[in-house]
Amino acid sequence: MSSSEVRAEDPVVVDRHLCKACGICIAFCPKSVLGADGDGIAIVERPDECIRCRMCEFRCPDFAIVVRSEEDE
């Protein structure tokens, strides 16, 4: 499976259609959960490390990230 696919169990979901590859979510994630694909689009690299602090979602300028609450799963 390629790392850019959305996996049902991921705590964080990036909308590739909205992401503009600014790098903010990647730089400020306290747990280094996020990385970039070849185009700079954010991808979820280490989902198990996510503490659902939602800072990536709050600081994304493009409304491209959602952190799912545990009840959603």
Binding site: H17, L18, K20, I24, M55, F58, R59, P61, F63
Partner: protein, 275 residues
């Protein structure tokens, strides 16, 4: 997109026009989270903006929206609020829109203490027209109209609005997004004129010319240069050079304009009646 926020957008207009890493989207989402927490209804909420990159925000929002002329958002907003005092009226404005061409309207809206919440997206520059300096550009910063550095002193707009008489004045940043959202929420709740300055990034026209090459570096700057008000009160002016203070500067109750006006109308209803 967040399922709670989706209903507030004109989805068909996304992705938005703003550049990668532009802070306008961060402030816009903070505004939506704040009003969502208060349960504001879309039909009872009006967004009014002037002209600029930031002033395009209402175009993406599925509310009653009014995109007006440069610097005049508060004039239109005052008209809306006086005609319909029960509506929630929010002004979205840039640092140039609010402080340069619109500075006079800002002073008088604050002086009247009319129940409008103004969110000033301060990106330190005129973004839309290519990076000319604004009254809020830091001294010595480089702009298209100040290639060797800006010799002007920079305006502290929060102090201006405080002096003019607003009920609520606060400043936050897009880096400190959770406190920013709370400041906006408090501004929304307040009866009277509320002013929230949101320090935000124009990576394209401010950052690149001022040694911040990426959106991430611009957020690092916000993180490092922001001083919470409680700490700032214990610091000397020299220590605060090159920094800016964040937090709540004013949160007081004072007579609100549309309430005073309605009372006047009630008191004189008999003078007018039957006549």
């Amino acid at each position: 997109m967040n399922t709670h926020l989706r209903k507030y957008f004109r989805q068909e207009h996304l992705p938005h026009i703003w550049c990668p890493g532009c802070g306008n989207g961060i402030v816009t989402a903070a505004i939506l989270r704040a009003l969502d927490r208060l349960g504001w209804e879309k039909d009872r909420t009006v967004f009014v903006s002037g002209i600029g990159c930031s002033s395009r925000a209402p175009g993406y929002l599925d509310f009653n929206t009014l995109h007006t002329t440069h610097g005049r958002a508060l004039v239109f907003a005052t008209g809306v609020k006086v005609a319909h005092p029960n509506l929630n009226v929010v002004v979205i404005t840039g640092d140039g829109d609010a402080s340069a061409i619109g500075g006079n309207h800002l002073i008088h809206a604050a002086r009247r203490n009319i129940d409008i919440t103004t969110i000033c997206f301060n990106n330190s520059i005129y973004g839309m027209t290519g990076g000319q300096y604004s009254p809020l550009s830091p001294t010595d910063s480089v702009a298209s109209t100040a290639p060797f550095g800006n010799t002007d002193r920079s305006f502290d707009l929060c102090r201006l609005v405080e002096a003019a008489g607003a009920s609520y004045v606060a400043r936050g940043t897009t880096y400190h997004v959770t406190p920013l959202t709370k400041l906006i929420e408090r501004g929304f709740e307040k009866r009277g004129f509320s002013f929230v300055e949101a320090i935000t990034a124009c990576p394209v026209y401010f950052g690149r010319r001022n040694k911040m090459r990426t959106p991430v570096e611009m957020l690092e700057w916000q993180k490092d240069a922001a001083v919470p008000i409680t700490r700032a009160q214990k610091m000397d002016p020299e220590e605060l050079a090159g920094k800016f203070v964040i937090g709540t500067f004013v949160d007081i109750d004072m007579p609100e304009y549309t309430e005073s006006y309605e009372r006047l109308l009630r008191e004189h209803a008999s003078d007018r009646g039957g006549g």
